[in-house]
Each structure stands twice: as C-alpha cells, then as structure tokens.
Symmetry: C2
Amino acid sequence: MSAILIPEQRLAETGAGPLRRCGLMPTAGGGSLADLVRLMGGEADGTPVPGEVTVPLWRVRAGATLFHEGAHSEHLYVVRSGTFKCFTMLEDGYEQVLGFAGPAEVLGFEAQCRGRQSLSAVALEESSVHALPLQELERWRHRCPALDRALMRTLSRQFAHAAAMVEMMAAVAAEVRLARFLVWLSSRMAELGHSPRRLLLRMSRRDIGSLLGVAHETVSRSFGTLADWGYLRVRNREVEILDLPGLKACTHCTRGLGDEIPRTAARRRLAA
Amino acid sequence: MSAILIPEQRLAETGAGPLRRCGLMPTAGGGSLADLVRLMGGEADGTPVPGEVTVPLWRVRAGATLFHEGAHSEHLYVVRSGTFKCFTMLEDGYEQVLGFAGPAEVLGFEAQCRGRQSLSAVALEESSVHALPLQELERWRHRCPALDRALMRTLSRQFAHAAAMVEMMAAVAAEVRLARFLVWLSSRMAELGHSPRRLLLRMSRRDIGSLLGVAHETVSRSFGTLADWGYLRVRNREVEILDLPGLKACTHCTRGLGDEIPRTAARRRLAA
DNA sequence: CGATCGTTTGACGGTGCTCAATCACCGTGG
DNA sequence: CCACGGTGATTGAGCACCGTCAAACGATCG
C-alpha cells in the first residue's frame, strides 16, 4: 500500500539525470506535430499543421514505469512504439492488469478528470511515447484541427477497445477468454501492419491471467488446450496462430463451448 | 442475427410520427448549451457560452432503443436523466451487456471512429438525452471552449469508468463481483446527489449477470449471500446497503475471499 | 384472472482455483 | 566451465464454486 502514493518529485524530475536512472529519457529532437497526427491515423484532411511546434518524444526502457498510480498528471502520452501494461495495485498487493497499450494508443487520459493517475503504466519492452503537456494540449488542439480530430478519433477507438475488453472478460470458459484475447491481439497486430498469425507475447502468463480474471495456471492450460485443438502452436511466448477462422469461431462461444466446438474431434486430437 | 443490421431509415426518421411509435420523441424546446455544460460538470470557468444555440433534447420511453448496433451514427448523446443499457447481440443470440449509463454520461462516442454504432443502447426507464449532431459538434466545441473542456472531462471520467469495469469483472468470486458492482453503483448515485445506500436497480438480474460474466441464478444467490452477511437488504430490485464500509472491504478480496471475510460469522448468521 | 416474465431455490456435475512439484531459461558468481 | 539461485511456465491432485437444468414462486400487465 505504500506503493500507491508516490512522492510527486519522482515524476516531476524531468531533468535527464534522475529520469535516465528510471529508464525514462527524453530524446534530443522530439517529433513534429504532423508526425503525431499521422501516427494517430489522422489523414491529410487539408487543414494545415503548424510546423514550428515539436512534440517531446521519450524513450522508455523495458521494465520502466511511464507513470505511477496516484502521481500528478502533467502529460498525455501517445505510444509511438513498444507495449505498455496498465494496472492498479490492489490493497492486498495483487496487481490487477487493466489492459495493454500499443502504438497509436493514448495513455494517461483517464487522469484528466482527477488530476492524478488512476493507474500505473510500465513498458514491457523498449518503447517510445510522445508526451503532450496538458498545459499546451488545449492550445495545440485549438490551433490544429487535424490534431484535434485525430485525438478524438483515437479516443473513440479506445472506447471501442474498452467495450471489446468487457466482451473478452465476460466469456465464461477460460479457453474462450484466451481465444478472444488472442484474436484481439492478432487484429491489433494486423492494424499495425504486422502479421496477424505470428504473435510475440510481451506479457507474462500471470499478466494475461490477471486481465482475463483467471489463474495463471489456467492460462497455461488454456494455451495447451487451444494448441491441442490445432488452433495454435505455442512455444513459451511465441504464439503462431494456425487456424485463425477456427479461433474466431471459438471466440463466439458464449458459454461452456459444449456445442459449437466439436469436442470429440478435440479429444481425438488429444489422444493422437 | 437479423437484429444486428438495421435499415438505417429506422433511426433516420427524425419526424415525430415514426419516432413517437419507437418511443423516441424530440421535445419542443431543447436545452441551452449552458445547461449542457453544467450537466457535464463543466464549472463556470469564465469563458462565455454562446446563448443562441439550443441543443436538441429527446425523451426516451422505458424500453425504447436510443440506437441500434450497426446503425449510422449521426449524433453524440449526453444522458440528461434516466438509465441506459449498452449491449451487443452475439451471434448465438446472447445479449452481452457492456455497461449501464446514467446522467452526465456520453453515449455513442465509440461510433465516431467507424461511422457506425458498435453497440445498442436501450432505456431502462423513462429517460432523456441531449442529441448533439456530429456535423455541428466540432464547430460548437471550437466556438465554446467551456463545452470542449466539459466534454473532455466527461470522456476522461468514462475512461476511468471503463477501467473500473474491468476491475469489477476481474474478481473471481461471484459475490465480490456483485459487491464491486453495487459499490460502483452506489458511488455513482452519490455523484448524482442521491443517497448512496438506497439503490433502485433498473436492470434485471440477467443484465447484471451478463455484465459480470456470471449466470443470473448466481447473481440471485450472491444477493442472498451478501444479505446473509448483513451487508444488504434486498427486496426484488430495491437494495438497501446496510454496511457500506463492510461491502467495500468485501470488494477488496481479490480471490476466493476465504481469509478477509469472517466466513464463520457468515455461516452463523445463515444458521440463525 | 390468466399469461408472461423475472426471481428464487434446489440438486448435480464439471470447470477452474489452490497448493505443490517439476522443468526450462537466464544472469550471476564461484 | 558449471553450480547456484531466481523467475516464469508447465503439469498434477483435490476440492470448492459456479453453470446447467428444473421447479416453484412472485410481479406486472393485459
């Protein structure tokens, strides 16, 4: 519980020294506003983008925390590369994972209404983020309609993501939950232009289990089951989706998947 | 599955006749922009609010659907009064509830990125919403910084809501899930200035179960269990919270609640 | 007053949580 | 070079919890 409230200097120290020790390093140049708009999927809609302003760009080392739960919020972050894990620390020390964020996703937005972060974000791999100072954000949005539109669209997309998250967790069977998680991850890889079949999980089984609301042993077993059914090939954190349509079909099973999936075929495969 | 794709005229018919039959009725006057800003919690921050524009205000009868999944999105809705249920219809006809929305909450925002609604919203009681035309929204926001700020804050609050939703569903024990749901509901009632102890549930057990990812019978049993523990008094859809701190403590149990809650005391109460 | 829907309660079987042991992988230090 | 812990992943055994099926009860509305 001592970890929840963090002295604010910890993140206020924007100087290079302390931040570098934490794994957070502002890069020299930063990026242009046009870059940011493009990253967020804002198409060239004719409105001019002021060229003079540069958006700070930070590198975040693997394992470094971008911001802590309870910390003062001073920036809105847009992930440029890498993966982040968002979570809250529960009273009993249990780490409740709330989601994973990748490129073009916004972090730290839910803090705006309270002034303080309501969750923590740590990098699961070498990552980079644009850090938009909240002070300037409104002015930038007002001056640059393209940025404003792009931000709204991104927020809208993340609202849809949140709904998908609820759908993921509402599935009753553990394999179905994991299947939905993998399909969701796969579609996000496709959005980013990567292969939707080869996944490299940046998060541990425990993280996945926390998000899906199941024990990490069950996650492990579910991986095995989906692999036995021929949908996947799993080797540690490398997952290859062999039958994406089949996996999606598995996704649709609301309840115990007793009817939709030919369980006998699965058993046969298991015996073989 | 025929319910997913709806002929778009169904909602495009903004005339009084067809809409009235559907339970949607535009009111005569509408509301002022200043009203809307106040509803969303925007404080008087000095910026002037243009007085001339009036925001359409719709009445929605109990049971009427505000918008259908798959329908063209033309408005952003802000709930003024009442309660809405948001859900998607899964392929097998199962109604997956994604959340409940009350006053000052935004509906239909996740559609902005795709142009089509990704979920349906029906009123669970007599309700009313402000309908902001998407065409005009950007202009209004640009002209009225107070509205813009209020909208951003509201969206931020709903992001936090979404995180709380994930926390709710990640609990493993059914009673804990229900307890979190009730605490969440209670805090929302408090936000609206109502009593946080007397809840009148507008949704069915089945709806709650769908949201929490448990069977509706389990919801019913969990209500009974929480009542047996002395936290609640339940009479159909009227719920009185007798021990809010206790209920919140119950909320904190991550796993099987075998240790935190004095189970023996509960059993004793049960026997009595 | 009857029909329909929502709620409650019971019994049973299966799924997944807990506890535990084992194994694979990795960086450290002898 | 290999022993040594440490972490994460896998697998097994036992049992509590919850989903399913079923029936009874209650509320609401025509």
